[in-house]
């Protein structure tokens, strides 16, 4: 079974702090994704990576950056956390199987910025 793990289930940070969210997958997948999930908005893509050290902006990249130094690990960085970044963050991974290839999701990190 594919396993995607995220470093924390719940996180509370203060405004202005630098925040790191870590994601690890164990299926040697090429692609990894970070989403945020907000009520009534579904999931929105923040960044994705299709190879080590390669990254692309998603639909809402402002205020975030990412790092992928190893194939299995994809980090989301909030450079200076703000209250409007309070949300559920989900990581996913997928192989290179084309449009029909599904993504596998981690359990999520609920981040609260106070």
């Amino acid at each position: 079974d594919v396993k995607v793990t995220q470093s924390s289930r719940y996180l509370v940070k203060r405004t202005g702090e630098k925040v790191f969210l870590e994601c690890v997958q164990d299926m040697d997948h090429e692609n990894m994704f970070w989403y945020r999930q907000d009520p009534g908005l579904g999931l929105r893509l923040i960044y994705f990576s299709y190879d080590v050290k390669m990254k692309e902006k998603g639909d809402i990249p402002e205020g975030y950056s990412v790092s992928r130094e190893k194939k299995e690990r994809f980090s989301l960085i909030l450079e200076s956390a703000s209250t409007n970044q309070t949300s559920m963050y989900l990581c996913a991974s997928s192989g290179d199987g084309g449009a029909s290839y599904e993504q596998y999701f981690g359990p999520g990190t609920r981040l609260t910025v106070t």
């Binding site: 090429e30 994704f33 009534g40 999931l43 299709y50 290839y101 999520g108």
Partner: protein, 115 residues
């Protein structure tokens, strides 16, 4: 641009009655479509996917969906709801992101199952 629209934000059914969760898609070519489910405090799980092989797609836990090109719909159904089906359901379309495929999510339908 490709997108999906989930027509109901909340659906409530009684246990043992049919479930219908509606999804319309917009796509300039034959899309790949998915339904994902999210149980409370859990990650997203794939229910089923359509990839143009067959218009009626069967998924896990008795769910199925029918791709109707003429109606641009991909509705999710189940003949008889179970209490464990209470969850949020997302209709999703896959799009080319320039370097790999990306998923575009609908806004979700929260399914409540009454005893």
């Amino acid at each position: 641009a490709q997108s999906v629209t989930q027509l109901d934000s909340h659906v409530s059914v009684s246990e043992g009655t049919p479930v219908l969760l509606r999804c319309n898609y917009s796509s300039s070519y034959s899309p790949s479509l998915f339904w994902y489910v999210q149980h409370p405090n859990k990650g997203l799980q794939l229910l089923l996917k359509y990839t143009s092989a067959a218009t009626l797609v069967k998924g896990i836990n008795g769910f199925e969906a029918e791709f109707k090109k003429s109606e641009t719909s991909f509705h999710l159904t189940k003949p008889s709801a179970h209490m464990s089906d209470a969850a949020e359901y997302f209709c999703v379309v896959s799009v080319w992101g320039g370097a790999t495929n990306k998923l575009i999510f609908g806004t979700g339908t929260l399914l409540a199952v009454q005893p």
